[in-house]
């Protein structure tokens, strides 16, 4: 059956650079001496450590549990000893440090006891969601949103289409491609579990038409099911969630909305494979496929990497040349970010390590003024007006920039790529977004301080009034009832005197 496909606005055709890393099958990266596990590897609240320094941990054992609803636990990727819990540099564009658990591996790679959850068709959706939550599975496509939340469409919502996203449109990255070639049955099994949890009407696996091997593998794995495997035209960013929904269904996800609002749920192929392993074998998410590539790497390839492995180990494994390293990126050349160094660990959302030489990273060209050519608007896959956004972000007019729907920008980089004036447009949007969030936080903090200040004034006022009331009460007692206590005292004295008198007489009588 041929499925009708639609087109989204804009997009760009990019040199793929995917050949390099698909020559060899993926293999396991060697076990590193130290694993550095950031507590924050997903969208939402950080996980909370439940181990102490000195604890022995087994492979797959939970070492940090989810804190709050939108959160995900972290598991030990190998057996060993927790040697440090503290701040270490983490993969983040800021280059800052964040809380991590460091495990020194013992080489035994000993699994904690795992429990299979058996036949998933016998489990109800909420039990499945719990298994997926406890396994620490987050969206492996890049955003890292805890997967169990996406598997809960909410009361009254019907999922018409479940899309499994294997598009992988960004240059250089091939980890989903290799996963589909090598683990297609796992992915399809995971998809069936997700479908069961969502009660989705139809299932579509989408991948770009530049991955014939993966397409063949997925088609073979999907034989005998009603799962459709669809090739979509290769254009960046066809793998963006909202873009893919448009291509496959013709529907647009509303601004500020989610695909579920139009009855669609998207999951990444890697997520599906992880879901399968969690349900079938009880394995938590402790490793994933990653592409190590770029002009600086002598044997670019895909590796199955334990979460927490330092980037340097992976570079060593694939052969790199520190002398000619120009840029070290996590992610692809369009949406990735520069790493502060090679000591940072890889995390659940890391799909690619890109080591570029001066030759393959674009030469830096001087930034020139915007000439209002409109090329950026033609390229924008979200139908925004990038030049207006740029204009207002440049002027730091943060209200205006939101009027132009800044927060619908997916930061795909198409506008910067086509800009003839080499303006770093996406950088402006990122600046504006984080600045708006910072101001929002400051506003909330000021509001909290104002409330506390006003409450304090009220309290002081109340205490003053209470003191005054107490004072007047005491004064009243002193003036109104001075006779009472003296009376009782006198009476007591009189009574005591009488008793003494009686006793004396008694004694006299006795004589």
């Amino acid at each position: 059956m041929i499925r009708r496909l639609w087109k989204f606005n804009g997009g760009v055709h990019l040199p793929a650079h995917k050949e390099e890393s698909t020559h060899h099958p993926a293999r396991r990266a060697p076990l590193p001496k130290r694993l550095i596990l950031p507590l924050h590897q997903h969208i939402g609240e950080s996980a909370e450590a439940i181990v102490k320094v000195g604890d022995r941990v087994l492979k797959g054992q939970m070492i940090a549990h989810a804190k709050g609803f939108v959160s995900a636990p972290v598991h030990a990727p190998s057996s060993g000893v927790v040697v440090e819990i503290g701040d270490f540099p983490v993969p983040h564009p800021s280059g800052l440090s964040a809380p991590c658990i460091v495990i020194e591996t013992d080489g035994a790679d000993l699994w904690a006891p795992l429990q299979s959850h058996g036949d998933f068709t016998q489990l109800d959706p909420s039990a499945l969601r719990n298994i997926i939550r406890e396994a620490g599975i987050v969206g492996l496509g890049g955003a890292g949103f805890p997967s169990f939340i996406k598997l809960n469409p909410g009361p009254g919502k019907v999922v018409n289409t479940l899309i499994l996203n294997g598009v992988e449109c960004e240059p250089y990255i091939t980890c989903d491609d290799m996963l589909m070639r090598e683990r297609a049955p796992d992915i399809i099994a995971g998809l069936r579990i997700i479908r069961h949890a969502l009660r989705a009407r139809e299932c579509v696996v989408a991948l770009e038409d530049n991955k014939p091997d993966a397409y063949a593998a997925m088609c073979a794995a999907a034989v005998g099911t009603d799962i459709q495997v669809v090739q979509v035209p290769t254009i960046y960013p066809a793998g963006g969630e909202k873009q893919l929904v448009k291509v496959l269904t013709g529907m647009e996800v509303p601004s500020n909305g989610l695909p579920i609002h139009i009855g669609v749920v998207c999951q990444n192929v890697g997520t599906a494979a992880a879901v399968y392993r969690a349900v079938e074998y009880g394995e938590p998410l402790i490793s994933r496929y990653m592409t190590i590539t770029g002009g600086n790497i002598s044997q670019p390839r895909n590796l199955e990497v334990l979460i927490g492995t330092p980037v340097k180990n992976l570079l060593d494994e694939c052969g790199w040349n520190p002398g000619t390293l120009e840029r070290l990126l996590m992610g692809g050349p369009m949406m990735g970010f520069a790493l502060p160094g090679d000591s940072v660990p890889v995390i659940k959302t890391t799909n690619c390590i890109l080591a570029m030489t001066a030759a393959d990273s674009q030469p830096q060209r001087p930034v020139m003024p915007c000439i209002r050519c409109g090329a950026c608007a033609d390229a924008c896959p979200v139908n925004l007006l990038p030049q207006q956004l740029y204009w207002h972000a440049h002027a730091k007019d943060l209200d205006k920039v939101q009027e132009y729907n800044l927060f619908d920008c997916i930061e795909c980089g198409c506008c910067s790529y086509v800009c003839p004036s080499n303006i770093p447009l996406v950088h402006y949007y990122r600046y504006a977004k984080t600045e708006i969030w910072a101001r929002e936080r400051e506003k909330q903090k000021a509001e909290a301080a104002r409330l506390r200040y006003e409450f304090r004034l009220q309290r002081i006022e109340r205490e003053k009034a209470e003191r005054a009331a107490k004072h007047t009460q005491k004064m009243e007692e002193l003036t109104a009832a001075p006779a009472d206590p003296s009376d009782t005292k006198k009476a007591a004295i009189v009574a005591a005197m009488e008793r003494a008198q009686a006793k004396r007489e008694e004694m006299k009588g006795g004589e």
């Binding site: 983490v90 983040h92 674009q362 770093p424 447009l425 950088h427 984080t434 301080a449 200040y453």
Partner: protein, 185 residues
């Protein structure tokens, strides 16, 4: 002639009654302008402006007693916002009310603290926890960095430290076009 005077007089009386009733019925409590100004102020309650808190300063601005450039924690951005609200020209912050500093938070050296409660009484937002002859500590999340607790401490055990940058608070810097690199290599 008489009819016209009577008619106009009746109208005036009727509208006067309506307006008088509306003034009572729809009376706005407090000073709405001071409220708006207060919403712009940073609520550090530090008193650097010369008033005992942000609200008193807001009220003073609303009455025209204070100028808009006396709040260093609000910074130039705060002055610009106040100028926008009040339809005035922004002006630089006055030197006499202190300088713009990075965001700070107070820290008590708990080994030196004698538990005198003086800082607790000074804190405008109740961000210090402790009791007489018991160790005191700052609730860092609530501290506005106003420095009002520093001076009263008889043993100088309170220090102001700059806020540590964290990933949750981090923002992208404004692009420097001379050395800017796009998202793509």
């Amino acid at each position: 002639m008489l009819a016209a005077i009577v008619a106009l007089g009746a109208l005036a009386a009727a509208f006067g009654l309506i307006l008088g009733y509306a003034a009572i019925r729809f009376k706005v409590e407090g000073d709405p302008l001071a409220e708006k100004i207060n919403a712009i102020l940073p609520q550090t309650q530090c008193g650097q402006c010369g008033y005992p808190g942000c609200r008193p300063y807001a009220e003073a601005i609303a009455k025209g007693e204070a100028d808009i450039n006396q709040c260093p924690p609000g910074g130039e951005a705060g002055v610009v916002k106040l100028a926008d609200l009040l339809g005035r020209d922004p002006k630089p912050l006055t030197a006499e009310h202190g300088q713009v500093k990075p965001k700070m938070v107070a820290v008590i050296d708990e080994s030196i603290c004698i538990g005198c409660t003086l800082c607790i009484q000074a804190c405008p937002v109740d961000a210090i926890l402790g009791a007489a002859k018991q160790m005191h500590t700052i609730i860092a999340k609530e501290c506005t960095g106003c420095e009002l607790c520093v001076a009263p401490c008889p043993v100088n055990c309170i220090e102001m430290v700059p806020l540590q940058p964290s990933i949750a608070q981090w923002t992208w810097i404004f692009p420097d076009e001379q050395s800017a690199k796009g998202a793509h290599g």
